[in-house]
């Protein structure tokens, strides 16, 4: 995916499937798919217990809606032949997506692998609007977002669009996935407004072990995300894999040091966040920079995200789980540092340090374009949706928690005081499940 043109060129000379490549991408697809449940745990642990199911379902539901929409429509808009701005409709409904080789792997597998990226990118946005957005409007929002934002930007960078042809380097999705999701998250948080308790009372993570579990599983899945983006079981995959191994280590270490200097403690939530920021930052660079470059990149990427998280918490902007600081800023830092550390000898184009400052300009162009586009389109989608439906849960539901009001379930139910409704009775109690009905019935 790093270089679609190289792929197309390969298609001419190597029309055959390569079993080793196919095997690795099969595994990588499963690894990246696991990142969405991992994200659910990362996000779910960070919210209050009364909203934990809702928050986790916001990630899980993307597996269904975004996944299907990807296969049927968005894949074609991203990767089929079209204009420099958007792909065409030739692969709609998986038309022509068969077992014939695309590069050295089956076309169908390529579609599935790319689909896992679309799913997690949409799910990432949810972190900014948790604990207040109604569930169905959220599902409709991310579905529209996939078609209007993700598909075009993926096409620009990877599908043969205008950014890719200009030589913007984005190995595994720093721009397409992280800047895209991060900026959209910020805009969504601004359009929806802050939670009613935000800035008035402490809103604390309800399960920090979940956060650590999620961060660990994200790292595991990210080997498929970056290592798989070589689209082959080759040396580039090994480089991307190793850089994904090294960069978050540097971020974690620097994060621990910053935490200690500032508060006197190494914090668990901070450590988990540091790992994710490191993973985000190395994503665009993974197959282009040296291992030592990856360490430097990971360490440096800590600073902008760390301090923007501190700054954001003092503002009225309720990007609740700091998606913008983590993914938007982490992705931006990574995209720019790719232009600094990229080296021809490791498979990239030369960057600033190798005497090619122009690459930094290209990186800024790619980041800037998706920054502006994602921001504007997200604003537009939410404003239009806001005209035909209520996006936010009302104050009372927010107080009671979205688990009960949106899903009719509790995460940590004791069952005390619950009365079993027998099947024949529930037919009489015709009220839709999850909707309160009078006690007198």
């Amino acid at each position: 995916m790093s270089s679609p043109h190289l792929l197309l060129a390969l298609q001419d000379t190597v029309p055959a499937l390569v079993p080793a490549d196919t095997a690795w991408i099969l595994v990588a697809t499963a690894l990246v798919l696991l990142m969405t449940p991992a994200l659910a745990f990362f996000y779910g642990g960070l919210v209050r217990s009364k909203n934990s199911l809702n928050t986790m379902m916001m990630s899980y539901v993307a597996l269904g809606f975004i996944g299907i929409l990807w296969a049927l429509v968005a894949y074609s808009l991203s990767f089929s032949e079209g204009s420099p701005w958007l792909g065409g409709f030739s692969n709609v409904m998986l038309n022509g997506v068969d077992l014939a080789p695309k590069g050295t792997i089956p076309h169908l597998l390529f579609m599935a692998y790319q689909g896992t990226f679309a799913i997690i990118t949409a799910a990432l946005i949810s972190g900014a609007i948790v604990e207040r957005m109604k569930f169905w409007p959220y599902v409709i929002f991310i579905s529209a977002w996939l078609l209007a934002v993700y598909a075009p930007v993926a096409h620009w960078v990877w599908g043969g669009g205008w950014l890719g042809t200009r030589g913007v380097l984005d190995f595994a999705g720093g721009t397409v996935v992280h800047i895209n999701a991060g900026v959209s998250a910020l805009v969504a948080a601004l359009v929806l407004g802050s939670r009613k308790d935000y800035g008035r009372q402490a809103i604390l993570p309800h399960n920090v072990p979940f956060v650590l579990l999620g961060a660990g599983l994200l790292w595991f899945g990210w080997f498929g995300f970056n290592g798989g983006s070589a689209l082959a079981a080759n040396a580039t995959a090994a480089l991307a894999f190793t850089n994904t191994f090294l960069a978050p280590m540097a971020t974690l270490v620097v994060w621990c040091i910053l935490d200690t200097v500032r508060t006197g403690h190494v914090t668990a939530v901070g450590g988990a966040t540091g790992i994710v920021v490191g993973l985000v930052a190395i994503t665009p660079a993974a197959g282009f920079v040296s291992p030592l470059g990856a360490l430097a990149l990971g360490g440096l990427a800590t600073f902008p995200s760390y301090f923007i998280i501190l700054f954001r918490a003092r503002t009225r902007v309720d990007d609740s789980l700091d998606v913008f600081a983590g993914h938007g800023i982490g992705g931006l830092t990574g995209a720019l540092l790719t232009g600094v550390f990229a080296a021809k000898e490791w498979g990239g184009t030369d960057g600033l340090l190798a005497g090619n400052p122009a690459q930094l300009g290209k990186q800024a162009l790619g980041a800037g374009a998706s920054f502006v586009y994602a921001g504007l389109m997200t604003f537009l989608i939410l404003k239009v949706l806001g005209l035909v439906m209520t996006l936010r849960a009302d104050q009372k539901s927010e107080g009671l928690g979205l688990d009960v009001t949106q899903h009719g379930e509790e995460a940590y139910s004791t069952g005390e005081g619950s009365i079993l409704v027998l099947p024949d009775e529930s037919a009489k109690v015709a009220a839709p499940v999850g909707v309160p009905f009078p006690a007198t019935r």
């Binding site: 009372k396 069952g415 529930s426 009220a431």
Partner: protein
């Protein structure tokens, strides 16, 4: 000298604590309890199992106060905990026979929220 027991919605706890702080009422105990105040019941479904949740989470606040503080305390709690919906809760005011402060051994008036408002 009275014991004020208030039972109200957990999501109103912060508002109540803030109101009490503003009313110079210090020293209280909070516990999480389950209760039912005639509000609409909720249905929850877990696969094939549907339940009516008859008991709701509430918080129970206990404060021992001296006579001049009874009115302000009750007023603060009622104003801060009210949403206007069924299930807002109750405030009970009970007579107290004795109060002992464990640390100093002080008794009764000396052991509850000060009889005279600070600065009053």
């Amino acid at each position: 000298m009275n014991l004020i027991v208030a039972i109200f919605r957990p999501e109103k706890l912060n508002d109540v604590l803030e109101a009490l702080y503003r009313a110079d009422v210090t020293g209280l105990t909070v516990s999480r309890v389950m209760g039912h105040g005639g509000e609409t019941e909720r249905a929850e479904t877990y696969r094939g199992t549907t339940v009516k949740v008859a008991l709701q989470e509430k918080v129970r606040l206990e404060i021992g106060v001296s006579e001049p503080f009874v009115g302000p305390t009750v007023k603060a709690i009622v104003a801060a905990a009210r949403t206007g919906e069924v299930g807002d809760g109750k405030v009970f005011v009970l007579d107290l026979a004795q109060v002992h402060r464990i640390r100093t051994g002080e008794r009764d008036q000396a052991a509850v929220t000060p009889a005279v408002k600070i600065g009053g």
